[in-house]
């Protein structure tokens, strides 16, 4: 597992390869459907976003409420494809890393390649395990959105897999094909 400190530089992001396991430490922001719609409204109106996108990592997640004495509730990834309509624009504005689950569109992969960014996959449904890797959580924007508010998280050793790397290689296409080749080879022997 490769350790990555966030925010990371483009050189470090460029070294990540599709399929690599990574452990993330540092700052990531949560944002999902409603927050992305707010981002779009602000950008369309020519207004600044409430977070600095340049070099940032956005985690597509909306945690369950934190029980007393804990940092966060369960906090697994949500389906990234719902944010595909927003991601290319944000990546071209400097967003370096997105984290979620499931495959991305051609347009997103194109933007990742063009800007030397990265898309990471966390294990969906593993919200309790991932919550243990969050060491602080504060609301950064849109508190009225509740679970969909933008949160600034500090994480330590947050596990993820490189799903789309800076060269545009996509683990959702490659992983399945590689498995099927291996299974066919094993069957043919």
């Amino acid at each position: 597992m490769r350790r990555v400190t966030l925010p990371a530089g483009r050189e470090e992001i460029a070294r990540l390869r599709a399929g690599d396991g990574v452990l993330l430490s540092g700052v990531i922001y949560t944002a999902r459907d409603a927050a992305h719609m707010r981002f779009r409204e602000l950008l369309d109106a020519g207004k600044p976003l409430p977070i600095e996108l340049r070099g940032a990592a956005i985690y597509y997640a909306g945690p369950s409420p934190a029980p007393p004495g804990t940092v966060t509730g369960s906090i697994g990834p949500t389906t990234s494809s719902r944010m595909d309509a927003f991601a290319p624009r944000l990546i071209r504005l400097g967003l370096l890393c997105t984290i979620g689950k499931g495959a991305r569109s051609e347009e997103v992969i194109e933007a990742i390649k063009e800007r030397c960014a990265v898309y990471l996959a966390a294990v969906g449904g593993a919200g309790a395990l991932l919550a243990e890797r969050v060491i602080s959580s504060e609301t950064a924007a849109f508190p009225e959105l509740g679970a969909e508010a933008v949160r600034r998280l500090i994480v330590r050793d947050f596990p993820a897999t490189v799903a789309v790397d800076a060269t545009g290689r996509d683990i959702y296409a490659e992983g399945r094909a590689a498995y099927l080749r291996a299974a066919a080879d094993a069957g043919g022997r």
């Binding site: 399929g19 396991g21 409603a34 997640a61 909306g62 945690p63 369950s64 409420p65 934190a66 029980p67 804990t70 509730g73 369960s74 906090i75 697994g76 949500t78 389906t79 990234s80 494809s81 689950k101 499931g102 495959a103 996959a121 294990v123 969906g124 449904g125 593993a126 919200g127 309790a128 395990l129 919550a131 243990e132 959105l145 509740g146 679970a147 969909e148 596990p159 897999t161 683990i171 959702y172 490659e174 992983g175 399945r176 094909a177 590689a178 498995y179 099927l180 291996a182 299974a183 094993a186």
Partner: protein, 279 residues
């Protein structure tokens, strides 16, 4: 006539909603364990190990396994000789709100699909009431995440499409769902009825334990064939490649019209949750 109080319904729904989110059903846990033991593909095995570890952490900490604690489906099977002494829908929603507050479950419901204002307490539930023989009330609470719900489908096939048409439809729905629906999935399949009945059959099929086949040998064989075809897709746990794309397939069927062959598939993630209690 036996009376079950609305308070008893509320208390039961609250407890089942909390518990269903914390404890993986034993049949699902056993299926994940078995898959982890037989998966040869490293990324798949690693993901299944993470899923197992996550279930243990949730159990030990009494916290929800997944942050999407679901839109709550409540099935009430009310005996012909039983009566709920009050507003059953209010009683269920009071239970959902209490369970969400006490269990620190996420408020995931918006009041209107287009205006999208969060109700703040995860109500209302989707409630389905059936009248059944006896004087008891069986309550089943099934919180359902939307990553997999979004991948679900209904299709009005033609009678001539036959068994092959239904099977191809189910396999292609799971294939298109890919990694976003949190595989390994459970596929609930409804065949027959009409447009709405097929969807409800598919949802109800998810309540059957994955290690319990359809009692009709013909449908049990179709379940086995579907599982084999789905697990030959290569999508694997979380879509990273591997054998384990589904943990199980459950089919429910119903009479239908001479002109139709409705089919529905309700895809459920590896955190397939449901708990029942009889009052």
């Amino acid at each position: 006539m036996r009376v079950v109080t609305p308070d008893a319904v509320t208390e039961t729904v609250a407890r089942l909603f909390r518990d269903a989110n914390v404890h993986l059903p034993p049949d699902i846990r056993a299926a994940v364990d078995a898959a982890a033991g037989s998966e040869a593909w490293p990324a798949a095995r690693r993901t299944l190990e993470t899923i197992r570890e996550n279930a243990d952490i949730a159990e030990a900490g009494n916290i929800p396994m997944c942050q999407d604690t679901g839109m709550v489906c409540v099935f009430l099977d009310i005996g012909f000789d039983a009566r709920i002494g009050g507003d059953v829908y209010k009683a269920v929603d009071a239970g959902v709100a209490r369970g969400a507050a006490e269990g620190y479950l996420r408020a995931s419901i918006v009041r209107d699909p287009l205006r999208r204002e969060n109700t703040g307490d995860n109500t209302p539930a989707a409630v389905y009431i059936d009248l059944v023989p006896g004087d008891r009330v069986k309550i089943t609470v099934a919180p359902k995440g939307f990553g997999s719900e979004n991948a679900s489908r209904v299709k009005m096939l033609r009678p001539a499409d036959g068994v092959r048409g239904v099977l191809d439809f189910v396999v292609s729905a799971v294939e298109d769902a890919g990694g976003g629906a949190c595989p390994p999935v459970v596929a609930g399949v409804g065949i027959g009825g009409n447009f709405d009945k097929a969807a409800l059959l598919a949802k109800r099929a998810l309540l059957r334990p994955v290690d319990e086949p359809n009692p009709d040998p013909c449908y049990a064989a179709l379940e086995r064939e579907l599982l084999e075809r789905i697990n030959a897709l290569g999508i694997g746990p979380m879509g990273l490649g591997g054998r384990t794309t589904a943990l199980g397939v459950s089919i429910l069927s119903a009479p239908t019209h001479i002109a139709g062959l409705p089919a529905a598939v309700n895809i459920s993630c590896h955190v397939t949750r449901h708990l029942s209690e009889t009052l």
